[in-house]
């Protein structure tokens, strides 16, 4: 359990949010030309990092907006929060 600083609403409890998984997975530009391996990579394969990970979150019980977060998954400490479309911060 941790507090998340929603870029739109400010600090709220994590239970108000929905985790949206790994961030910056780009939807294929030309889906018809993808091989099965590339589809599998896009749909299923995840980095699942132990350590600093870039994620998408949604303030489901608040403003309902999506945003990005940098979080250390080994101790749930949040490093940064930034809006969709913004450049991810470099460590």
């Amino acid at each position: 359990m941790f507090i998340i600083n929603c870029p739109f609403c400010g600090e709220r409890e994590q239970s108000e949010f929905k985790a949206g998984g790994e961030a910056h997975i780009v939807r294929p530009k030309q889906p018809t030309e993808l091989s099965d391996d590339q589809w599998a990579e896009y749909l299923f394969m995840r980095k699942n990092i132990k350590g600093v990970q870039f994620e998408r979150w949604n303030h489901a019980h608040g403003c309902r907006k999506w945003f990005n977060m940098v979080r250390d998954t080994s101790n749930d400490k949040i490093k940064a929060v930034y809006k969709m479309g913004e450049k991810p911060p470099v460590e």
Binding site: N48, K50, D76
Partner: protein, 417 residues
């Protein structure tokens, strides 16, 4: 040969105040080279080593474990065993395990306290009823014992359940698998460890894997905190940390690791003699032989390796428990903990070869791996020894995420996620 555990050995050792029991397994330093190294000393990993030695005549085997054996998810789960899965592939896999459970204590000469007290799954709405009936029929076609119970029969089987129609999620019925039940999780790890050790398997504890050495498409060995170990075959059974190990070999897996919580109450007199699960309200409960209620909660929806979960998950589970069992309203909880479970997109496990020769993965068991421990070990040992899957785990290969031939148990079966 190890001394056999029996009533006579118990009496004999009582005379020496139980101070002279033989060690159940040695604590060896790693050798330079092994034929097979298993990464992960939980139930599945130890079982794999046991069956490699027993059924495939391999003797030069090591199990490396970063902590103590059985200290991860093996010692953190709610010990439920059942095989009432919907799809043929899952039914085959889990019932294979259940059949081994039935003779496991005798085989290992170690009491794993397997108790076939039955597992009941509750239905709370019309769709639940339809799904559970469908699953009951599917189970029977696969030779798995399953019966559908109406509300009165549920009440008769477990009288403390609140079957009033006036609760938020009324009990409309349920399924019962009588061969299902529970076992003592630590004993499973210790029993397999003792059996494997007796056949010459080196169980190396406090030895964390730091890297996997590859030579092109082959593996050459592992870097550990106790030095380099040379081997051509690596079986990874690292549960929540599978992706971390995969990363070391340059592989990506379709897994997400999430915290799953459980809790136990103070011990009380026998009150519930079966296991009751409810997927709709997400609560499951049984009673341990010590008298504690063993309660399982759900997973958090974010990736985490912290072995801690959120309080709101526990709160939600306890709300459901209290509505279904008002008699527990004044029970106090003793302990709560989390384990990190690796979940596949189709909620089925991976027991498979990989694109790297000599590297095998047994992972993705998600929230329900304990029940499969003996079967998982047996089939993974077969896969490693023959470099080919057994027909029972062929469907659980890693390529299904490319071919699309998923074993989609998510929501379709008795999987509690």
């Amino acid at each position: 040969m190890k001394n056999k555990y029996s009533i006579f050995s118990l009496i004999k050792n009582a005379f020496s105040y139980h101070e002279n029991w033989e060690k159940a397994w040695k604590d060896p330093a790693p050798k330079k080279e092994y034929d097979v190294v298993i990464i992960g000393g939980g139930g599945h990993g130890l079982a794999t080593a046991y069956y490699l030695a027993k059924k495939h005549d391999m003797k030069n085997i090591a199990v490396v474990e970063k902590g103590w054996i059985g200290g991860g998810n093996t010692g953190r789960n709610t010990t439920i065993i059942r095989s009432n899965y919907l799809w043929d592939a899952s039914a085959g896999l889990y019932d294979h395990a259940l059949k081994i459970w039935e003779g496991l204590s005798q085989e290992l000469n170690y009491n794993v306290m397997f108790s076939q007290r039955g597992v009941m799954n509750l239905a709370h709405n019309l769709q639940d009823v339809r799904d559970l009936k469908r699953r009951t029929h599917a189970n029977r076609l696969n030779g798995i014992d399953a019966v559908y119970l109406n509300t009165e029969q549920v009440k008769k089987f477990c009288p403390i359940i609140n079957t009033s129609p006036n609760i938020r999620y009324p009990v409309l019925g349920g399924t019962l698998q009588r061969r299902a039940g529970t076992a003592r999780h630590d004993a499973v790890a210790w029993g397999y460890a003792r059996g494997a050790d007796e056949m010459g398997v080196d169980i190396i504890q406090n030895c964390e894997v730091k890297g996997i050495k590859r030579n092109g498409d082959n593996v050459e060995g592992i870097e550990t905190t106790k030095g380099f170990i040379k081997t051509n075959k690596i079986g990874v059974v690292a549960a929540g940390h599978s992706s971390v190990i995969a990363n070391m070999a340059g592989l990506k897996l379709p897994l997400e690791s999430k915290p799953l919580q459980a809790l136990v109450s103070e011990p009380v007199k026998p009150i519930i003699d079966t296991v009751v699960m409810s997927n709709a309200v997400h609560a499951y409960v049984s009673q341990s032989d010590k008298g504690e209620l063993v309660i399982g909660a759900g997973t958090d929806d974010y990736v985490s390796y912290s072995q801690k979960g959120s309080h709101d998950i526990v709160e939600g589970t306890l709300n459901a428990i209290l509505e279904l069992y008002p008699i527990f309203s004044r029970m106090r909880m003793l302990r709560q903990w989390g384990g990190i479970v690796d979940i596949c997109p189709d909620a089925s496990p991976i027991i498979s070869k990989t694109s790297i020769k000599g590297l095998y993965f047994n992972c993705g068991w998600g929230t329900g791996g304990f029940k499969a421990t003996p079967g998982s070990g047996d089939l993974f040992a077969h896969t490693i020894a023959n470099d080919e899957p057994h027909k029972l785990n062929a469907a659980f290969n890693i390529n299904r995420f490319v071919s699309g031939d998923l074993v989609d148990e998510h929501g379709a079966a008795a999987v509690a996620h």
